[in-house]
Symmetry: C2
């Protein structure tokens, strides 16, 4: 299955509401990068509210997605990171230090507005 990517003005919104298996995660990475290229989006909100657990592979893919999007000129905000997911990320040494985060999609959009000034 594929994770839907919504375009809203020059932002992309993604809400991951399914447990991510390896193939879905890789497909998502590819779809998102293509969509950034096609849409010229400058900001991306990835909402993880419904993701309850995360393994090391998915965590790596997520980290990669953020870095790759950045390379392509689109700023990523991660929102709704659950306590268990936060614990796993830190346990795995994935600190996402320079990645802005927020509580929910609304807050994420506000953060993008502030960062990008649009």
């Amino acid at each position: 299955m594929r994770i839907p990517i919504l375009k809203l003005h020059n932002y992309l919104l993604i809400s991951i509401q399914t447990e991510l298996d390896d193939n879905t995660a890789i497909q998502f990475q590819e779809d998102l990068l293509n969509k950034i290229h096609k849409s010229g989006a400058t900001g991306i909100v990835i909402d993880l509210t419904s993701v309850e657990i995360i393994d090391s592979f998915i965590a790596k893919v997520l980290g990669d997605v953020v870095t790759m999007s950045d390379l392509m000129g689109a700023r990523v905000v991660l929102t709704g990171i659950q306590p268990a997911v936060a614990v796993t990320l830190i346990d795995l040494g994935i600190h996402m230090k320079d990645v802005p985060t927020a509580l929910d999609i609304e807050q994420g959009l506000i953060k993008l507005h502030k960062e990008l000034g649009v």
Copy 2:
């Protein structure tokens, strides 16, 4: 699989980017009504840009979703209806007369703003 429903302020955004089979459609109907109830959303945008074909069952479920959401106090805007889907809907006698439609999600949100005045 389940179709993700994004909450943005008091609106719900749904982008259907997969061919809808019967079970997915029914599950979507149930998920959306629950989400309206839980979130108190007043407006809903359902984006069909990526739906290329539609059969009579799915068309009926979609029509039902619109009516049911209305009953629960949430206004639905359908966006991105493809030519082939429009043809099928009319062929099936599903006119969606009182349902506001728009070209894409942005236009759909503008329409909701105008209709609901919020």
